[in-house]
């Protein structure tokens, strides 16, 4: 029942390849997206791709080895800490800009 593909590609490599493509997708989005919140999203996708490579290439005899698992967990926590700080900066920047804009702009904004 197994697809013939599984003979040439192990599950570990399949996930690692997915991770590699995720890194590329995220990188492309990071370069081409202008909005910082979307860039932050892109960075998180790149991070997920890296973790996937780390975990799927670190397979032990019956499960993923504890060492790469621990590294991934550390990485995920660091990523969320930085994402939170980045999101807070993005919101603060928008607030500062909105406060600096003259009130007359509000009408133009409502119309669009």
């Amino acid at each position: 029942m197994d697809l013939p593909l599984s003979d040439i590609l192990s599950a570990g490599h399949l996930y690692a390849l997915t991770g590699a493509v995720l890194v590329g997708l995220g990188l492309y989005a990071f370069i081409t997206q202008r909005h910082p919140l979307r860039q932050l999203l892109a960075v998180n996708v790149v991070g997920a791709g890296i973790f996937l490579i780390l975990g799927s290439l670190g397979r032990g005899p019956d499960a993923t080895d504890p060492f790469p698992q621990a590294l991934v967990i550390t990485g995920i926590v660091v990523a969320v800490a930085l994402t939170a700080f980045g999101a807070a900066m993005i919101v603060r920047q928008a607030e500062t800009r909105a406060a600096a804009k003259p009130a007359a702009d509000d009408n133009a904004r409502g119309a669009s």
Partner: protein
């Protein structure tokens, strides 16, 4: 059969990631990002890395998702809808070529490495000395406890960094009220929060307790606690504290400080983070319980954002 599952899962991960990155509407992007995170969690389950799956579902999808939703809502209130904006064609083509080339190189490198790791052989014989079963916890809190110690301070530092963004006149103060603005919704969410907060607390405690021997641990548990706190705050069950409350500060510092103190106490036994013979399990459990509490509070406040001036606090309590 399993391979078919893996293949479909990978395709869906790539699909959701692509849509999350390139869909115009920011809300859809975040919804897809959360779906992406959940699917990543399944991937980790598929790889038999349940500890990571718990972390990914809780942190990668859950907390990051809530964080992005709230950030987008705040931007929207300021008239910024965070949609994709067009970039010049040459930039897109150039980036496409560069990224495609990069992916090919990376894929070739990845395929050149056999997906087998021999580190379990190193970890396994060391576990009996710790007295716990979960090898990931062993790596996180013993063999590489130094990483984890520094990481707990990174999390704390991120909150300090977020706080440093508080506008003039907002310090010390409370974060913007994350509560529902609509009263009936607030009631529904309030009931939910009252139910969920204790459940989250119990579940988090279970995850820490299980973390010694089964998948789980302080970070996953802390995230669950943070989730419970956030729902309770959205329903108005609890208010977010002012940044200068001594009790809050103590709760934030407790975990990292206890970890550091135990690490320093190890100097008496031979060096930083050395656990004395036979005490490893007890010390790890102490570290995990205090750390989970601090992580929960820290994450909840990280999501809530920096303090805001009191005037903009849309608190309906005054009416009544």
């Amino acid at each position: 059969m399993t391979f078919a599952f893996d293949l479909i899962l990978c395709l869906m991960i790539l699909g959701t990631a692509g849509i999350a990155l390139f869909v115009r509407d920011a809300l859809a992007a975040i919804a897809f990002f959360i779906a992406f995170g959940n699917l990543m969690g399944l991937t980790w389950l598929g790889l038999d890395a349940v500890n990571v799956a718990l972390a990914e579902i809780a942190i990668g999808a859950g907390v990051t998702g809530v964080l992005l939703i709230l950030a987008r809502a705040r931007l929207l209130a300021l008239g910024d809808d965070a949609t994709c904006s067009g970039t010049p064609l040459w930039l897109r083509l150039g980036a496409l070529a560069a990224c495609a080339g990069f992916v090919v190189l990376l894929a070739a490198s990845v395929l050149s490495i056999p997906p087998e790791s021999g580190l379990d052989r190193v970890v396994a014989p060391l576990m009996p000395g710790l007295g716990i079963e979960n090898r990931v916890t062993g790596v996180l809190l013993a063999f590489r406890a130094y990483d984890t110690l520094l990481e707990s301070f990174v999390l704390l530092g991120a909150l300090v960094a977020v706080w440093s963004l508080a506008p003039a006149g907002a310090w010390p103060g409370r974060p913007a009220d994350p509560g529902m603005t609509d009263a009936p919704m607030r009631r529904v969410a309030g009931t939910f929060g009252q139910l969920l907060l204790p459940v989250a607390l119990v579940m988090a405690a279970y995850l820490v307790w299980a973390g010694s021997d089964l998948p789980g641990g302080a970070f996953q548990a802390g995230t669950v606690l943070a989730g419970g706190l956030l729902v309770a705050a959205m329903g108005g069950t609890i208010g977010l504290p002012s940044s200068d409350r001594p009790l809050l500060r103590a709760a934030l510092v407790l975990g990292p400080a206890v970890f550091l103190a135990i690490g320093l106490a190890g100097i008496a036994a031979g060096g930083l983070l050395v656990y004395p013979e036979g005490m490893a399990k007890a010390l790890i459990v102490i570290i995990e319980y205090t750390l989970f509490l601090s992580i929960g509070v820290t994450l909840a406040l990280l999501v809530a954002g920096p303090p805001v001036p009191d005037a903009s606090h849309p608190n309906p309590e005054g009416k009544g």
